[in-house]
């Protein structure tokens, strides 16, 4: 058998001495084949590939290129071994042309001549069937054109081993087809190609072999022809882990928030939510599962009045009186003035939720500063709220005057959730509230959410860990590429079922 292009042996990477991103990963890629790396969010796919591309350096283990041990400590070293990585976030200079971006960073081996380089770029593009105008500026390009520039950039440098990090995440189905055609042509040309993805149908359609990672661990490699969507999902999500999270039964649930046929476009004009309809009930936790970037963030922000609605609407049903309020086209302030008690724990805690340089008391005031009667700020109530949160949620360090930025992730989250809960909401939306938190803090957040549920609050919980979602939520709504692919019962649903739903979903364009 031929020498593999890349062989990884027992690669381990630990961040900050505690977060294990990769643990004992072994895999091989051969020339003339396409290998898929499959895994959920946070399973360490990108970290692993970054180690081959020289962005990170492995803590343990060896990398062999063409059968010889390789030391890759910088992207330059990776070029030397003819490895090129196409990152998920393009690394391009907007005001440069395609050609200028492609030759960026190359040494002065010959005279600097953009015209000659443009001809070479065009030749590479034609060889593999790309469409590209070498003199077009990046800021005038579509996402797929930018991706083309990235791919040609590594080819121009003579890469024989290509790594693509979720290349189809930003493409329309037609563009994806074109890209796959190009990748197949490269495979015939003898290049080794690694593609990171979590879309099962793409894996089955394109690749020769699949390696699966789960929570940083290497699960195994299978031949694509022997794999099915079900078998891959099982490898990806694994056996169910029993979590001891309390799940009280909903008490007198009634409709609280009705989202109907919601469609939303982002700033670039791409549809990020398509015909989303669901109802959140009081006294229940509605989980939202989905691959990162499937529209979860946009959904919550739209409900909170932070994103304009293209089509559809959001209705809020006032408890007791049953009065219906329409939230479409209202700002967060207008929504609050209607008496809608909506609390939002955003994903980006220190960006959208809290102000890092302000202390806990001041952060409490961000939600209540309008209540003052005089021209001076009223600090007493927020101060005592801050003290109450610190005491009840065991925030450390315990001073109310500590800048929030200096707290650990878990404590920041406690402050944020505490503040949002103190507003006595009837709808509580939390996006990834336990991300980056240790076990104890996570359980405290679960308890807080459950306490709200018992108080009759409609809780919407966006999560990424399927074990947590299936243990905590009453119902789980699965979102795939901007549309709802299913709503399942949290008590009976299996992880495989949810995992399969996550990878489905009509493609938005």
């Amino acid at each position: 058998m031929a020498v593999p292009a890349i062989e990884l042996r027992n690669i381990t990477k630990v961040f900050l001495g505690k977060v294990v991103a990769n643990k004992n990963v072994n895999l091989t890629v051969n020339y003339g084949e396409i290998l898929s790396i499959l895994g959920e969010n946070g399973s360490g796919k990108t970290t692993l590939m970054n180690m081959i591309a020289g962005i990170y350096y492995p803590d343990e283990g060896q990398i062999f290129i063409n059968g010889e041990e390789a030391l890759i400590v910088s992207p330059k070293d990776a070029f030397k071994y003819r490895i090129g990585m196409i990152h998920q976030h393009f690394k391009l200079v907007d005001v440069f042309t395609a050609t200028e971006n492609i030759i960026l960073g190359l040494k002065d081996e010959e005279r600097y001549d953009t015209k000659k380089a443009a001809v070479q770029v065009k030749a590479i593009a034609d060889q593999y069937g790309f469409e590209l105008d070498p003199d077009k500026k990046i800021y005038e390009m579509s996402v797929s054109e930018k991706q083309t520039v990235e791919i040609i950039k590594v080819l121009y440098r003579g890469a024989d081993i290509l790594i693509l990090d979720e290349p189809t995440a930003v493409l329309t189905p037609q563009e994806t087809e074109k890209l796959f055609a190009v990748l197949r042509r490269m495979r015939e040309d003898g290049k080794a190609i690694i593609i990171i993805t979590h879309k099962l149908h793409e894996v089955l359609e394109l690749s020769d072999r699949v390696s699966v990672l789960r929570k940083g661990e290497y699960i195994g490699t299978v031949e694509t022809k022997d794999a099915t969507e079900a078998s891959l999902t099982e490898m990806m999500v694994g056996k169910k882990v029993e979590l001891n999270i309390e799940r009280p039964d909903p008490k007198d649930p009634e409709e609280r928030l009705i989202v109907a046929h919601l469609s939303v476009k982002n700033r670039e004009g791409l549809t990020v939510l398509k015909d989303v309809s669901f109802t959140a009930m009081s006294g229940e936790i509605l989980g939202i599962a989905g691959i990162a970037g499937s529209g979860q963030r946009e959904l919550l922000e739209t409900i909170a009045g932070l994103q304009p609605i293209e089509y559809g609407g959001v209705q809020y049903i006032t408890p007791e009186s049953g009065k219906i309020e329409y939230l479409r086209d209202k700002t967060p302030m207008e929504i609050r003035e209607l008496g809608v008690r909506l609390s939002f724990v955003p994903e980006d805690r220190l960006g959208m939720g809290l102000v890092g340089n302000m202390d806990i008391t001041d952060n409490m005031m961000l939600r209540s500063y309008r209540r003052g009667r005089t021209m001076f700020l009223e600090r007493k109530a927020p101060q005592s709220l801050a003290e109450r949160i610190i005491e009840q949620l065991q925030v450390t360090p315990s001073g109310t005057s500590t800048p929030v930025r200096r707290l650990s992730g878990g404590n920041v989250q406690k402050v944020l959730v505490g503040r949002e809960i103190a507003a006595a909401p009837t709808v509580l939306m939390a996006a990834y509230p336990v991300r980056g938190l240790d076990i104890n803090s996570s359980y405290m957040i679960y308890d807080l959410l459950n306490a709200q549920k018992k108080n009759g609050v409609a809780v919407i919980f966006v999560g990424e860990d399927l074990d947590v979602l299936t243990a905590l939520c009453d119902r789980i709504m699965v979102i795939g590429q901007g549309s709802i692919t299913g709503i399942v019962d949290g008590r009976t649903a299996s992880k495989e079922e949810i995992g399969l739903l996550m990878t489905k979903g009509g493609h938005v364009s």
């Binding site: 962005i55 992207p75 005001v95 960026l104 960073g105 600097y112 800021y139």
Partner: protein, 326 residues
């Protein structure tokens, strides 16, 4: 008219030096608000060199080539040091660029006035200024046949070598930026350092070099001002707001140093035009002196409204770059 144009050019040259230096620095993504201070330091360093040389051999016996080289070298060293301080703070320590720049301006003005004051005491002069006419004459020496060429000579050939150097530097910079790999890399560093880094460009090195070279060029503006414009007379706080005007000029010329040549002369002209308009009151004079700032604001408005990406400031201007930050 010829005199006005000639004076406008002389007035504009220090601004040209300052703006070229600042453009080079900004292209690497660093907004150096220390330019006014660097002009002072560049000038006073040259003055110190010239002062001690003149005093050691006596004003009558100076060798022209040394009288030029010594202040020139001192000036370069002085502004290089300022550039190094700025880049150490903003590149290595990733300090806030605005704060560092403003501190350098205060610092540079202070240094200039401190040493200026000390030299004035050393020279024991009655007036609060240092007179380096002999050195200045060396700096101002021009081509011998100029006087015989009428208005043409006066307008195009009557300037000292530093003025031509300034124009050459501006042109060469423009060519390097547009036509060479170094220019491409430098622009990439200023636009998107993460991309440049991933492409294997030594980002910190580029930032250091461009900041220091930019400082040295700006410092030459200070030297030119003293030795040529001011006839070798240093007086404290003599620069006025020329440093800020140089930074305004960078915006005015949308980060293009070749445009900077014309822009500098225009600014120079606007600065002195009040002397050539008869019957102007003091208030009107001051209003006219503010014109360069007004046109800068107008240009800024037009450029922003047109949204041409090529005319925008470097994208990561003012931002520190740290590879491991995600």
């Amino acid at each position: 008219m010829i005199t006005f144009l000639q004076r406008a050019v002389i007035m504009g040259i220090p601004l040209l030096f300052g703006a070229t230096g600042e453009t080079i620095t900004e292209k690497s993504g660093h907004l150096n608000l220390g330019i006014p201070g660097i002009l002072y330091v560049g000038a006073i360093s040259g003055v110190i060199g010239a002062f001690f040389y003149e005093n050691s051999v006596g004003a009558a016996n100076i060798v022209p080539i040394l009288a030029i080289l010594i202040p020139l070298l001192c000036s370069i060293l002085g502004s290089l040091l300022m550039g190094l301080i700025y880049s150490f703070f903003t590149v290595s320590l990733r300090a806030n660029q605005n704060v560092t720049g403003l501190a350098l301006t205060t610092f540079g003005v202070g240094i200039g006035n401190f040493f200026g004051g000390s030299l004035i005491r050393l020279s024991g002069a009655d007036v609060p200024s240092i007179n380096l006419t002999a050195t200045s004459n060396c700096f101002k020496s021009k081509l011998p046949f100029v006087d015989s060429m009428g208005w043409f000579g006066e307008l195009f050939l009557s300037y000292s070598f530093l003025a031509y150097l300034g124009i050459i530097i501006a042109v060469v910079t423009a060519v390097i930026m547009r036509r060479t790999r170094v220019g491409l890399h430098l622009r990439a560093v200023g636009e998107n350092p993460a991309t440049a880094d991933a492409a294997g460009i030594p980002v910190e090195k580029y930032k250091y070099f461009s900041t220091c070279i930019g400082s040295v060029i700006a410092g030459l503006g200070g030297l030119y001002y003293i030795m040529d414009y001011a006839y070798g007379v240093w007086s404290n706080n003599g620069f006025g707001d020329r440093g800020w005007l140089a930074i305004a000029l960078v915006i005015f010329t949308v980060w293009k140093t070749d445009l900077g040549i014309l822009g500098a002369f225009l600014f120079g002209g606007l600065l002195i035009i009040h002397n050539y308009i008869p019957n102007l009151g003091v208030a009107d004079q001051e209003l006219i002196k503010a014109l360069p700032y007004v046109v800068t604001i107008i240009v800024l408005v037009i450029v922003s409204a047109r949204k041409r990406r090529e005319n925008q400031p470097p994208q990561s201007l003012g931002l520190s770059y740290f590879r491991e930050e995600r």
